[in-house]
Amino acid sequence: MTAYVIRRLWQMIPTILGVILLVFFLFNWVGGDPAMVLAGKISNKDQIENIRRQLGVDQSYAYQLWVFVKQVFTFDFGRSWSTNEEVSHIILTRVGPTLTIMVPCLIIETSIAVGLAIMVAYVRGTLTDRMTMMICTVAMSISFLVYIIFFQWLFGFILGWFPVQGWSESFWKNLFYYAPLPIMLAIFVGLAPELRLYRSFILDEINQDYVRTARAKGVSERKVMMKHVLRNALIPILTNLGILLPGVFVGSFLLEVFFSIPGLGREIITAVNRSDFPVIKAVTVYLAILTMIINLGVDVLYKVVDPRVSFK
């Protein structure tokens, strides 16, 4: 397994280089000129050139690309062009609020989705199953934005159960006072597609021969579902979680914007609007690395969940 992990780590290097190239060319071809934003309301060519020189965007593309590569491998992305704040500080301070929302959301959403998926899969074809699937389809058809606007208005303003928006310095206050409404929203929105997906994974397993054999041997239904079916359905569930996990670290920008959560998602949107390339670069590369590491972790977990899996 060690050789496998080392090989996978090596394979990350060309992937990172690909990400660097993609981000670099996208920014230079599609992104706006940051000097124009920073120059203010009235500026002349000299001032714009001065800003471009200070930002280093007057250098050749090859040199700029080399600087980018160095930044990635030294983990030093310098300072934000817009606020002059250190990029590492931006990421470290914004990732906390994002995780405060997204980690509970992922845990609760996955637990509920898997639990419900087992239940509706077990009663497949019944009215309960069909009603659940119909509700899921309707729920998935409505835009996330509509949910946010409605939930915020209903639970924050009309019923007053939660604050409309806000964030504090205290982790516990954030978790139990400011975060519940955005978490509830994220779960509500994420649950329907997850439930449908996990139900299909479980249905695939329920129809397998080994389930029939277990039942024929007199194994209890509870044991069949929880030990045999769920364990085998865990591999596709884990794969799906692996896909979702990187998103946990960048958050939902809609939630963060609507609830004034100073998280990474909101920071990314601000950086894009301000053509703040150091922040965009750092977050993109950080996300790419994170995705690769999580994928590797999920692959390793396959072995834990199913000992028949072997690494080649």
């Binding site: 000129d33 124009m36 309301k41 817009s82 915020q152 004034s260």
Partner: protein, 577 residues
């Protein structure tokens, strides 16, 4: 209260967004400022002892600073009280021209102070700004006296000095915090920055070193309910009365509105247009259910203008520009396009009645605005626009339903607008519809903000949406946008009309008065005649407050008013029960 955009930081010489500047208004103090109640606005001394008279034909201004004005305490001062001196102003104004600072308001002091441009040039070549170098135009006569010598007469220079960016910072502080000066604003203002969670929360607390203010009631208009209430509630108080101010940047309209309605916030500045129907009735008055709660609405005509810029230069995006030039047919085309635009629909539908149609480039609330000036030069009039086009040979020659140019070549007018905003898209649709009504084929393209700025600077556009907010309350701040030599800087229309330029230069030699206003009117007429802009609107904002907010009045230039406010805590607590 909330801000509707995220702040950048609080180094006054390095920012230009109104929200960061609005916070700086409370942390720093300039030589002069605006009286809180006087309308039209009036300059009053702040840390200066008096407003000086211009000397040497408007080219010299000498200030005496009040002794004993203290900076807020900071580790940079090593436990000592730090008094404000004339040298702090010299240092801070030099900072505007230090290339390292990339000051967005550097233009305020460009080609302005004798000797400063030369120092900035030397800094560019040397790679470092020499703050020790003497500048003839920044003459520190003694500890409390500074004299500014200008390159030419400028009767608006006092307005420049009243800008919340043109404030003193202490050199020790700037040098100690280096690249992190945005997070360490240390000024002589009535508040200090107590807490700052970027993009989330800004907390100000009363500056214990501050000498205190009193409300100057000399210019109060006691027939005005806002002035009367301010005088009655805070007139005899030592200010600032607030111990703590909490500001939350909230970009989305709904949470900003609901946070106020939920009483999480005491003030809602700039009520979002989308929620106006939940605040104002069809008569423009506060809805009874809100009035019953004691909520008040302050209606403010902003000193700003929106407009559509025509590129009057010969080239647009490297090609011949069909809307540029000063020949009668090109002027007629621009005027016809201006007449095709239905500004009343913009006001009623897009802006929900909260805007005034602009009559000239000069908005209300600034010196030089003439409320009696009305014109139909750009009034929405499709038959007139069509007749004008017909007269100058813009007719449909090939029967495809669209007009061609007088020489028979095709005519397509291209509009560029800012991509990130529903409002901009709606305005673009209205523009395209107006042109279609008069038979002009058009195209609209959404571009990101920075690209739009760049395109307008380098003639990479034909027609574009634009807006300008007053930096200082004088018509000159708006009329300079069409001054020929400002092409490539602020004159995005590339308007080069010798007659206009001559009048502009002449206006600079006069102080405020009837003679200068007469010149401004002539310039307005030239703008209407040659149509480098399709004038848009002056937006109206509605600011809401709960009744326990005392002393509220919105200033047209200053963004915040915390130092003049108080809270009736007992009333606030009672309402929360």
């Amino acid at each position: 209260m909330s801000f509707r955009a995220i702040e950048t930081g609080f180094d006054p010489q390095r920012i230009d967004d109104r929200y960061s500047v609005g916070v700086c208004e409370n942390l720093f103090e300039g030589l002069v400022t605006y009286d809180y109640l006087a309308r039209p606005v009036k300059l009053v001394p702040l840390v200066a002892e008096a407003i000086p008279q211009p000397e040497e034909g408007g080219t010299r201004y000498t200030f005496r600073i009040k002794p004993g004005v203290l900076f807020a305490d900071d580790p940079a001062f090593k436990g000592q009280k730090r008094e404000l001196t004339a040298g702090d102003f010299e240092y801070s104004i030099k900072r505007f021209r230090d290339p390292k600072n990339r000051s967005p308001y550097g233009w305020l002091f460009e080609n302005k102070i004798v000797g400063l441009d030369e120092l900035a040039e030397r800094a560019k070549k040397a790679g470092a700004f020499d703050y020790e170098a003497k500048v003839e135009g920044l003459e520190v006569r003694d500890r409390y006296t500074i004299s500014f010598k200008l390159k030419g007469p400028d009767y608006n220079f006092l307005y420049v000095l009243a800008m919340p960016n043109v404030v003193p910072v202490a050199r020790e502080v700037i040098e100690m915090y280096g690249a992190d000066t945005h997070a360490h604003p240390v000024g002589t203002g009535p508040f200090i920055l107590k807490e700052w969670v970027r993009a989330s929360k800004i907390v100000l607390e009363r500056n214990p070193n501050h000498r205190g203010y009193e409300l100057d009631t000399r210019y109060a208009d006691m027939s005005d309910e806002w002035d009367r209430r301010a005088v009655e509630s805070i007139g005899r108080k030592r200010l600032p009365a607030l111990d703590r101010v909490e500001i939350y940047p909230i970009e989305s309209e709904q949470p900003r509105f609901l946070a106020f309605m939920n009483r999480e916030h005491d003030i809602l500045d700039e009520t979002p247009f989308a929620f106006l129907q939940q605040v104002l009735g069809p008569d423009g008055k506060l809805l009874p259910r809100l009035a019953k709660q004691g909520i008040r609405v302050f209606r403010e005509e902003q000193p700003e203008i929106t407009y559509i810029t025509f590129n009057t230069g010969p080239k647009a995006e490297g090609r011949d520009n069909p809307v540029g030039g000063y020949t009668p047919d090109r002027v007629a085309l621009r005027r016809a396009m201006a007449m095709s635009y239905d500004v009343d629909s913009e006001i009623e539908i897009i802006r929900k009645g909260q805007a005034l149609a602009a009559q000239t480039p000069v908005p209300p609330g600034v010196v030089g605005y003439d409320p009696t000036f009305h014109t139909d030069a750009q009034a929405h009039d499709v038959p007139r626009a069509k007749a004008l086009l017909d007269m100058f040979g813009y007719v449909d020659r090939n029967g495809d339903g669209w007009r061609e140019q007088p020489d028979g070549s095709p005519l397509t007018v291209e509009l560029k607008y800012q991509a990130n905003g529903e409002e901009y898209r709606q305005l673009a649709e209205l523009w395209v519809k107006g042109l279609a009504d008069i038979g002009i084929r058009s195209d609209s393209q959404a571009v990101i903000f920075s690209d739009l700025l760049k395109d307008k600077k380098v003639s990479n556009y034909m027609v574009a949406q634009s807006a300008w907010i007053a930096d200082y309350p004088d018509a000159q701040n708006f009329l300079q946008l069409l001054y020929g030599p400002n092409t490539g800087e602020s004159n995005e229309a590339e308007f080069r009309l010798p007659e206009y330029d001559r009048l502009y230069e002449k206006s600079l030699t006069f102080p405020d008065g009837p003679e200068r206003n007469r010149i401004y009117r002539e310039m307005d007429r030239l703008v209407l005649a040659y149509a480098p802009w399709r004038l848009g609107v002056h937006r109206i904002y509605n600011h809401l407050q709960y009744p326990w907010v005392l002393g509220y009045k919105k200033h047209p230039i200053l963004y915040t008013n915390f130092k003049w406010l108080d809270i009736d805590v007992a009333a606030q607590k009672a309402a929360m029960k």
